[in-house]
């Protein structure tokens, strides 16, 4: 687990499970810190949310604005991943 630098605890959530994170931040990108990961499955057990947003970059931008620095950060999308359809035109 990493140490936070210049921590501003009010911007960090309490420790949450992945289903709880998905429910609280639906269809968003999230930056996760203090992650507990099952190394045998790569599955996230619990983590604290340090940033969220509609774009890939927004969670990291929030962390920077809050002065949060962690060595290990998770970057995940809470919604279902959908492939984009490609329309072929004859």
């Amino acid at each position: 687990m990493s140490e936070a630098h210049a921590v501003q605890p009010e911007v960090l959530t309490e420790r949450l499970t992945w289903p709880q994170i998905c429910a609280r931040y639906p269809d968003q990108w999230v930056a996760l810190v203090e992650m507990d990961v099952d190394e045998d499955s790569d599955e996230l057990t619990t983590a604290r949310v340090a940033g969220c947003g509609a774009t890939r970059a927004e969670p990291f931008a929030q962390m920077r604005r809050a002065g949060l620095r962690y060595d290990e950060v998770g970057h995940f999308f809470t919604g279902r991943v959908r492939a984009h359809a490609i329309e072929f035109v004859r």
Partner: protein, 135 residues
Amino acid sequence: MKVRRFDPDDDLIIVKAHVFGRHGSRRLTLALDTAASHTHVTPDIIDELGYSPAEGEAIAAVRSAIGRETGYMLRVRRFESLGFGFDDFLIHVHDLPTGFGIDGLLGLSFLKRFNYGIRSTEGRILIEHAAGSVT
């Protein structure tokens, strides 16, 4: 033999990866893509890890049915996925269109070092390495 699970209801096979740089590491999700020759990661992640395009080994372009995307090849300090990892692993850094809930693609540059099976209806990937190919 290692086993990793994925959600068979997703449109893509989504796996976890762990990329390391001088500013720490980032855990992310990639789509397993046996049609991709390289492993791809978006610039957002790479920039966060302290890399810059100036460290790139080559400029590269990806062509697909939806267009052409320019990026660069970069050797990251360490790359891990599916329970295995490599130091000084070469990846392709380029952006993805918005709307994909992934940070890149796990391509053959990683997968070809293993024997693996994808059991789609079960949502399982079975993977084992060839001798001497992994750390």
